[in-house]
């Protein structure tokens, strides 16, 4: 309401200056220039933090192409990222759905304001609908309500979902979903628990 009120006011103003903007399209800056800016802003951060914002090979390709990579790049990314998925040694993909709910609901961890011993969550609710009764969910990703039930708790679907959560880009190159296992955000046990939240018939996700 408020936003749209501003918007309609502003819209007419924009029409006036649009042509001027078109001429101002600047040349793409060199990679060295971009890195110099990053250094000026984040250069004082500890080495561990510097490493986190140094893109790996896959992310570098996603950055250059703003996630719209060529099919050759796409293939290289999925192949590379699949090799970085490690499956549970005991062959079990499903843990405890109640613990999994906590992982899905926890958005803490990884922020510079977090105490060092913070247990990271998966923050799945930030982007996905899961338990249809939970109304506070984001829409950056598709709804995962009834995820296991819709897939008839199929063994292949279970393995695919584990792969997806461990490393989203092993499935969809340049996915906007974090690579939870590969980036060490979630432990193997946390991933198994959140898997159970998706695939246990008793989980509210499948009710």
């Amino acid at each position: 309401m408020i936003r749209s009120a501003f918007a309609s006011l502003a819209l007419s103003a924009f029409a006036l200056c649009a042509p001027a903007l078109a001429q101002d399209k600047p040349a793409k800056p060199s990679q060295a220039t971009i890195e110099a800016y990053v250094k000026s802003t984040f250069g004082k951060a500890p080495a561990e933090w510097q490493a986190r914002i140094t893109p790996d090979e896959s992310l570098a390709a996603c950055n250059v192409h703003r996630n719209q990579v060529s099919s050759a790049d796409a293939e290289a990314i999925t192949k590379r990222e699949l090799a970085r998925v490690s499956y549970p040694a005991d062959g079990k993909f499903l843990g405890n759905w109640k613990e999994g709910y906590k992982v899905a609901n926890n958005g803490r961890g990884g922020q510079f304001s977090d105490p060092p011993d913070t247990v990271s969550g998966g923050n799945c609710f930030a982007c996905h609908q899961l338990d249809p009764k939970e109304l506070s969910y984001g829409t950056l990703g598709p709804s995962l309500a009834a995820y296991g039930k819709d897939r008839k708790y199929d063994a292949e679907a279970i393995k695919d979902a584990y792969t997806k959560i461990y490393n989203s880009q092993a499935v969809v190159p340049c996915s906007n979903m974090p690579r939870f296992g590969t980036n060490k955000v979630l432990s193997e046990q946390q991933i198994k628990d959140v898997m159970a939240y998706l695939f246990d018939p008793e989980s509210p996700v499948n009710k």
């Binding site: 501003f6 793409k28 110099a36 990053v38 951060a45 950055n63 510079f112």
Partner: protein, 277 residues
């Protein structure tokens, strides 16, 4: 200035309604419609928007003699000439020949404190973001100076080569992913009608109405923080959510992002300080 105090609870309730209204699919009820109308009036009413307390404090700081030179900031050139405030914020960040640097308002104020007043800015920097019982000169000055551009349109300066570089690098940074979650600004701000949990996410990847409504309403009084905040703080907060390291205050990447976002928002009519969640 006298402030008719509106209970924080009332304000918070209005904000909750307004926020819900932005994201909810169902049509609004009559009551909430009224609440939102009241909230909208509060936005620009100096007597009920606590952000105007910061405006008043900022005016005081602007005219106070300080530093080894014992002069006020009135000798500071914000781009329109020494001491000229009208329209200055609408055209910032911009290139300053004396510093040979593109600066946003806070960078320029720090420069003037140092060069014009001879003030040691260590204390000012330690209070860059206010906290309960600890006011921020930079937030207050920004509120005061930005308010002097009300009714004017955002006019991003894109003539000098360094201004053009800022806009271009800002755009690149907007799409640069990283951190343990692989997030960039674009992860959260490049699609229409998306939300994270229940918070609506403005699409800032395209020029036009949404970017205008966003950028023309900063600085803002943030009810959730009971504080006036500037774009420096908003970007600090978004880099935190992005799981990136702490960005250095008043550093080049933040200014570059601001130039890029103002370019998306060109023509947006300033109405500040606003009130936000």
């Amino acid at each position: 200035m006298k402030l008719t105090v509106i209970g924080a609870a009332v304000l918070a309730a209005a904000m909750t309604l307004a926020a819900g209204h932005l994201t909810a699919q169902s049509p609004p009820q009559d009551d909430s419609e009224k609440e939102i109308e009241r909230y909208r009036q509060m936005l620009s009413d100096p007597f009920s928007n606590p952000g105007y307390l910061a405006v008043d404090r900022g005016e005081e700081i602007w005219t106070t003699k300080r530093g080894t030179k014992n002069v006020s900031l009135e000798g500071c050139d914000l781009g329109e000439g020494a001491g000229k405030l009208e329209g200055a914020y609408a055209r910032l960040p911009r290139h300053f020949a004396d510093a040979d640097k593109v600066m946003d308002l806070e960078q320029r104020l720090l420069w003037c404190m140092d060069k014009v007043q001879g003030l040691d800015t260590k204390d000012v920097l330690s209070r860059r973001f206010s906290s309960p019982g600890k006011a921020s000169d930079l937030e207050d000055l920004t509120a005061f100076i930005a308010n002097k551009s009300n009714g004017m349109k955002l006019e991003p300066q894109l003539k000098h080569a360094k201004e053009l570089e800022m806009a271009a690098v800002g755009e690149e940074l907007f799409y640069r992913r990283g951190g343990v979650m692989d997030f960039s600004c674009a992860t959260c701000h490049a699609e229409e009608g998306k939300r994270i949990r229940l918070q609506g996410l403005p699409n800032l990847s395209v020029p036009g109405a949404t970017a205008q409504a966003t950028m023309a309403t900063w600085p803002t009084y943030r009810v959730s923080q009971s504080a006036l905040r500037t774009m420096q703080h908003r970007l600090w907060d978004c880099y935190r959510q992005q799981r990136w390291p702490v960005p250095d205050f008043g550093s080049d990447s933040l200014t570059a992002l601001t130039v890029f976002l103002n370019k998306q928002a060109a023509g947006g009519e300033l109405n500040v300080p606003s009130i936000k969640r």
